[in-house]
Symmetry: C2
C-alpha cells in the first residue's frame, strides 16, 4: 500500500512541507489540510495590503489550492479542520466545515504545521466585528471591508510590537487617527535595547501615531456589539471605531498536546534537529515549533517565515525519505528580523544586551552613528549600529541597526559572522564594499566593530 | 635621539599611516610628504563632484594639511617631492616644489604610501590640456574648470572600467555626448562574467552612452595643442572636445625600485602580512603594494580605499611600535567592490569564473534572477545573482550581483562567507532577513545558493 503523509496547516510551512515531500518521493501520497479558505499566502504582506500599497488580496496568495494541486501534485483540502490525530493508530479525524461531516482517515506519517494564533484580549468583546487580529488573510480582508463600509476615524492598536507598528503605519496611510496602547510605553522594545528605542518613538510621533503607556482592560460595546471605546488600566476611556489586536502570537499546539506530543520550555512543540517530535511518526515545522538559537544554544520561539520554510523542508525530507536519501538537519537560527516603521528601517540579529546577560554572557554593548553612504553623497542617511559583545574574547552576540536606509541588509552581513562565532576584531577587518553611492569608506559595520574592538582591548 | 618616521604619499594610506603611527607612539616624530597640494581626499568621490552632485571640492578633502597637523600631531609637507630614499643610510632626499630647494633628511623608518598613477596614452597629446586622467583631486578640478570655460559637446572616454563608466555617467549628467572606447567592447568586463555584461551595456546604451569596440591609437591636435579628435585602431576619427583617460592605474613604484625594494609578480611592491618590504626599515601600504587574496592565496593588485586604510594601519603600527605593543597583521583580502552605472548597482566579490579556473579550481557558475524586495511590494526590482562555486565541495569562490537596488550590500553578506571558506549549502541555510519592504521571503542570495547547492548535489 502506498505511503501516505498528512500535512496539517496550510499557511506557509504546510505547503512548503507538502511540496517538499512530493519532491523527495513522488510516489508518496500527500494530503494538506487547512481549516481556512486559503493556503500559501504571505501573511507578512497584509499590512501593505491594508494600506493599499499592494493592490489586491489575490497577489498575496502565492498558489491557490487548485494551482497547488496541479503544480505540486499534493492533494489540498481547504475548509477542513483536523479535530485530532492518532499517530499510534495512524488515524486522523477531520471535519469538512462546509458539510459538517467528520471522517477518519489513515495516514502513515504526520507533519504538524499548525502555525500560530494571534493572542486576543481576554475580556468581553474580543470577538466583536470591529476587533481585528492580523494573522490570517481573512483578518485583513475583513478589516478592509469594514473600513470601506463604515465611517472609521480612529483606530486603537493593542500592542507595539512589529505587527502593531506596521498596522499603525498602514492605517495612518489610510488617513485614520491611530493610538497604540503599549504596556511598556516603548514600541519594538522586544527588538531593541533601550538606547535605540527613542528613534522609533520619535518617528511614530512625527507621523502622528499616539503611543500610550497603557493597557486595555475592557471594551465598551455599542448596541450592535461593536467596540465603541477601549477602557485602559489607567481608568481612561478611548473612543474608537476599530481595534487591532497586535498582542503577539502563540504557537497553536492544541492538536499536538491532545496527541501526546511534548512541548518545549517556550510552550511550542519540541523537535530535534531533524524536526522529529517525541512520537516516531510525527514531525513538526513552522510557527508551532521552537528552534535552537546557535548563539547560546537555547530553544527560542521565533515565528518567522524563513524559519518556517526551512524547517518545513527538513521535516518533509525526513518524513518522506526512503532508501539512500540522507536525513536533513536544521542548523538552528541566528535570529534575524527587520521591520519598517515609516521611513525607518529597524533590524535586529542575535541577542539584545539583556538577552545576552540573561543567557549568562558577560556582555557589553557599543553604539555608533555613521552614514549609509558617503556622507557628502546625495541621499546619505544616518545609520545607528549597536553591537552586543562578549567581554574578554570580544565575540559578537548580536546587533541592532536603525536608520533610513541600509539597516536590514547590513544586519544580514552579521548573520554568517554570528553563525561562525566571530569576534568583533575579525569583523573590523572585513573588506566590505566602499563606493560613494552605496557605502562610505569605512562601512558603519566596520566603524561599530572598531569601537567594540577597542573596548575589548584589541582595537 | 627621538625616532623619526617618514611617510611618503598623502592621498589615503599616507595620512592613515601617519595618524596611526602617532597613535601607537605619541613620542615618535612623523613627517608626511606629498608632492601635490592636497592630502587626505576622497578620490572615489571625484566623478560625483564632476557631475555636480557633490557641491565643492572642499567637501572631498577630509582634512586639510593644517587640520591634519593639529589633530593628528604629525608634520605635513605638501608640494614636497621625495626624490630618493636611502634606507641603509637612513636618509631621504626631498625637493620643495615651490622653491626648488633639495634637502637631505634623516629618518629611522620609512613608510611607502606612494599610491598609483593613472595609465596614460602612449602617443602624442597625452599631456594636452583637454586630456584628463581621473586620479588626483587636481584632475577633477581642472576638468570642471575646462568644462566651465569651453564649449564642450562631446567627450571620449578611453577605457570602460569602473572609472570610465562613472565618468561617462557624470558627463552625461552635465549634458555632454559621451563615447567610450573599450577594446573588449564590453564595459566592466574585469568585474563580471560574460553572462552579466549585457545588463551593463544596455543601461549605458539607454542613457545615450556610445560604446565602441575600438582603441585609441592617436590624437589629432588643434593649433593650441588641444585634442580635437581621437584616431582609433579601426581607422576612425572621432571628433571631441575632451578626453578622459580611464585606462586603469599602475602602482607608483619608482622610489621603491630605486631604493632596491623588491616588487611582486603583479608589479606592485611586495610585502608580507606585517607590511614589511625586503628592507628592514621600510614598510609599504596602500595602492603601491600587492596583497594576498585569501580565496586562492594569490597576490593581487587591488587599489581600493578600504584596503589602503587597513594596510596603512598595519604598516604604521609595526613601524612605530615599541616594547610590548604586538605586531599587527593584515589578514588579506576577499576582494569586494561595487560601481554605480546609472540606475544599476554592479557588485563583485571574490573570483570571477575565469579567474577561478585560472587559479586552478574546478569551478562552475550558477545565475538566478530574483527580486530585491517582495515582488508585489512597490519599488521591488529584479536582482541578478551569479555565484562561482567549486565543484565537489561546493565551496563559494566568488559572486557577482547586478540590479537596481540591494546588490552591493548583499555582496557584502558573502564577504565573511568567502573568508571562512563556506560551501553554498551553508549559505542556503542562512536565516537572512525577510520583510516585504526590504527583502523577499527567500532572499536572492538564498535562491542563488539553493540553485548552486543543487548543482553540487547537496540541494
Amino acid at each position: 500500500m502506498r505511503q501516505r503523509i498528512a500535512v496539517i496547516g496550510g499557511v506557509a510551512s504546510g505547503p512548503a512541507a507538502a511540496a517538499q515531500a512530493k519532491r523527495v518521493d513522488p510516489e508518496v501520497g500527500v494530503v494538506l489540510f487547512e481549516q481556512g479558505p486559503d493556503i500559501s499566502y504571505g501573511a507578512c504582506e497584509m499590512p501593505y495590503y491594508v494600506a493599499d500599497q499592494i493592490p489586491s488580496d489575490d497577489t498575496l496568495v502565492m498558489l491557490t489550492p487548485e494551482r497547488f494541486e496541479q503544480t505540486r501534485k499534493a492533494e489540498v483540502r481547504v475548509r477542513h479542520r483536523v479535530l485530532g490525530i492518532h499517530p499510534k493508530r495512524c488515524r486522523l479525524d477531520v471535519k469538512d466545515i462546509a458539510t459538517g461531516r467528520i471522517t477518519e482517515e489513515r495516514f502513515d506519517k504526520f507533519i504538524l504545521a499548525t502555525g500560530a494564533r494571534a493572542r486576543l484580549p481576554e475580556f468581553e468583546g474580543a470577538e466583536a466585528p470591529n476587533v481585528f487580529p492580523m494573522r490570517q488573510l481573512d483578518d485583513a480582508r475583513r478589516l478592509k471591508e469594514y473600513l470601506g463600509a463604515h465611517r472609521v476615524q480612529h483606530a486603537v492598536v493593542l500592542g507595539g510590537g512589529y505587527i502593531g507598528v506596521e498596522m499603525a503605519e498602514a492605517l495612518r496611510a489610510r488617513g485614520l487617527r491611530v493610538t497604540i496602547l503599549e504596556r511598556s510605553g516603548n514600541l519594538l522594545h522586544a527588538y531593541l535595547d533601550d538606547d535605540l528605542l527613542p528613534l522609533v518613538q520619535d518617528v511614530a510621533h512625527r507621523h502622528g501615531v499616539v503611543v500610550r503607556r497603557e493597557q486595555a482592560v475592557g471594551f465598551v460595546l455599542d448596541g450592535e456589539g461593536a467596540v465603541k471605546a477601549v477602557r485602559t488600566d489607567k481608568g481612561e476611556m478611548i473612543g474608537c471605531q476599530v481595534v487591532i489586536a497586535a498582542m503577539g502570537t502563540r504557537p497553536d499546539t492544541e492538536l499536538a498536546e491532545a496527541a501526546g506530543i511534548t512541548l518545549g520550555t517556550t510552550g511550542a512543540v519540541a523537535v530535534d534537529a531533524r524536526m522529529r517530535t517525541n512520537l516516531p511518526n510525527v514531525w513538526a515545522c513552522g510557527d508551532c515549533i521552537e528552534v535552537e538559537r546557535v548563539i547560546d544554544r537555547r530553544k527560542v520561539y521565533l515565528p518567522l517565515a524563513p524559519v518556517a520554510f526551512r524547517t518545513a523542508r527538513v521535516a518533509a525530507t525526513n518524513a518522506a525519505r526512503r532508501g539512500r536519501v540522507a536525513p536533513a538537519r536544521f542548523p538552528g537560527v541566528v535570529g534575524a528580523s527587520a521591520v519598517k516603521v515609516f521611513e525607518l528601517e529597524v533590524a535586529t540579529v542575535g541577542l539584545r544586551l539583556d538577552e545576552a546577560r540573561a543567557a549568562g554572557f558577560d556582555a557589553f554593548a557599543t553604539q555608533i552613528k555613521h552614514w549609509s553612504r558617503v556622507p557628502i553623497y546625495p541621499g546619505a542617511k544616518p545609520l545607528h549600529v549597536r553591537l552586543v559583545v562578549e567581554r574578554g574574547k570580544g565575540r559578537l552576540l548580536g546587533a541592532q541597526l536603525v536608520g533610513e536606509e541600509g539597516a536590514a541588509l547590513r544586519a544580514d552581513v552579521l548573520v554568517p559572522c554570528l553563525r561562525d562565532r566571530w569576534a568583533v576584531a575579525q569583523i573590523k577587518d572585513l573588506d566590505l564594499i566602499y563606493t560613494p553611492p552605496f557605502a562610505p569608506a569605512l562601512d558603519p559595520l566596520i566603524v561599530a566593530a572598531n569601537e567594540a574592538a577597542k573596548r575589548v582591548g584589541r582595537g
